[in-house]
Amino acid sequence: MSEKEVKNLEAIFETRIARDEKIEPKDWMPEKYRQTHIRQISQHAHSEVVGMLPEGNWITRAPSLRRKVALLAKVQDEGGHGLYLYSAAETLGISREEMYEQLHTGKAKYSSIFNYPAITWADIGAIGWLVDGAAIINQVALCNTSFGPYARAMVRICKEESFHQRQGYEILLTLCNGTPEQKAMAQDALNRWWWPSLMMFGPRDAESPHTEQSMKWKLKRKTNDELRQQFIDQTVPQAEILGITIPDPDLKWNDTLKKYDFGEIDWDEFWQVVKGHGPCNKERMNARVSAWENGAWVRDAAMAYAEKQEKKKVAKAS
């Protein structure tokens, strides 16, 4: 294709984006658009799958049958989200094996929040309320994203996530209406999950390398800082209902700006976890890599069996 033709396609592409048209897998798209989407969608899929681990950890210990069933269903939903996100990424010309490879070698990232440990039952509530809450804010913004398969996956995922969030909040509400011991468990979980949840929106706008291009392609509709503010403004009143305290002495309502002012995020911690040195980075990766390696003989068997069946079918037909 000549340079002129490419320029022409680019111009058409930009116009379609500007008109809010969806880009579909078979449409022409700039290579950078394709790569950026592979990066973001696979990262999102990995987050769902790695995110199964901290919560999955509590399935065997859930305190009641009702909670056990709800938690199992929730973690299963996350696996399902992983599946349709991997499928959406596959439409861009990358295989699931390649994406796993990138995850296992550390080339692809996943949400850093899952590198924090879930150590009490209240953490399961806090993950639902805060982590899923933050994820929804990020994801609602993505329901209008320009790439069709991603946008459609997001619509479905958002519905389930908001159910998870309510479920998490309800776990904490039960604890906060329970014994002093239970309420202390809820407060402790909030203390540990608050700041990492704020970090989920990524670095400040000034330090976010991909924001500008992503906004232009409508892969992102709001900046990290805008989304973070929205999360805080929405979450503070919910903490008040629970009767637990957000661990930020600088948090206060700004009546002029009609939003909450809040304290400084520990960006050193943020980068430490992103770079692989958080509390559970190694454990999470080991769990994923072992599941994959231990499962190799099973996947090989399924392939071999399918081939044998296929041969039998052909032999019968001829």
């Binding site: 799958v49 199964m52 681990l53 999955g56 399935i59 065997t60 210990r61 859930a62 305190p63 009641s64 049958l65 009702r66 909670r67 056990k68 069933v69 199992l72 269903a73 973690v75 299963q76 696996g79 399902g80 992983g82 599946l83 991997y86 039952w121 776990i171 039960t174 604890l175 329970g178 014994t179 011991e181 239970q182 769990a287 072992s290 599941a291 231990n294 499962g295 190799a296 003989w297 099973v298 996947r299 090989d300 068997a301 399924a302 392939m303 071999a304 069996y305 044998k308």
Partner: protein
């Protein structure tokens, strides 16, 4: 309790679902691929769903404001009546599938009979469970074939698991004293009568999977009387952890 035999009979069925559901729950997030992971979680969910229906009924029979959670979490090991098969560990995927298949085949035969129980609660639970259990049975049976007739390695691994778990199959067909009374009342299923059909069905699938049907002479037993393998204490330690550490609280 006015109907101790029926209560125990229900536990004899429900505890299998609880403990197998718990074992499968351990695997969530660690499956060989995402599809299998989701399917195993699904089976676990079905089993816990059935467990809840049974326990809610058992709690009602027990009276004294007992709840499903009291029944699930607050018994001592000797009071759990599940068969030894379901408490066996997830040694590798072959064991997971072999355990599932050896149980599902029995479970389906049991549900088919139990839906005609003279007790309408049990009949209703069985009727609802049949659809789920036939799916479990198809899933595990298909995997037996894939692993048996897949690669040399998978053949060896699934054969090893079948051989290892075979000694726990006979117990499925034991009838306890409580069972006998409930069977006599036209409520319970006489599982000893399912034995022949069970081994016939299992052997058919194993043979189709190019596997050898084991010929054990010695079988393990005890679960139905509450005498479990050493596995059970660890399962209960996790299962009961919250209820034992924080007694008398709502969750």
């Amino acid at each position: 309790m006015k109907d101790k035999n029926l209560y125990n009979y229900i536990l004899g069925i429900a505890d299998n679902s609880l403990i197998l559901g718990q074992r499968l729950g351990e695997l969530c997030g660690h499956g060989p691929n995402l599809e299998t992971d989701i399917a195993l979680t699904n089976i676990s969910l079905d089993l816990f769903g059935q467990t809840r229906s049974y326990y809610q009924y058992a709690a009602k029979i027990a009276g004294n404001d007992k709840t499903e959670d009291d029944v699930a979490f607050l018994r001592i090991e000797r009071e759990y009546r599940n068969v030894l098969l379901v408490e066996q560990p997830n040694t590798h995927f072959g064991y997971v599938i072999a355990r599932q298949f050896l149980f599902d085949t029995f479970h389906l035969l049991l549900m088919e009979k139990l839906q005609n129980s003279g007790d309408e609660h049990l009949a209703a639970i069985a009727k609802k469970g049949i659809k789920e259990v036939s799916y479990h049975h198809r899933f595990s049976g298909d995997w037996i074939k894939r692993l048996g007739d897949g690669t040399d390695e998978s053949h060896e691994k699934i054969q090893e698991a079948i051989d290892g778990l075979w000694r726990y199959t006979d117990e499925l067909f034991h009838v306890t004293e409580d069972d006998a009374l409930v069977i006599e009342a036209g409520i319970g299923v006489n599982v000893s009568q399912l034995k022949e059909e069970y081994y016939k069905q299992v052997s058919e699938i194993l043979t189709e999977a190019t596997l050898t049907v084991p010929e054990n002479k010695y079988f393990a037993k005890g679960g139905k009387e509450g005498v479990h393998t050493e596995q059970m204490g660890y399962i209960l330690a996790e299962l009961q952890y919250m209820q034992r550490t924080y007694p008398n609280m709502n969750w």
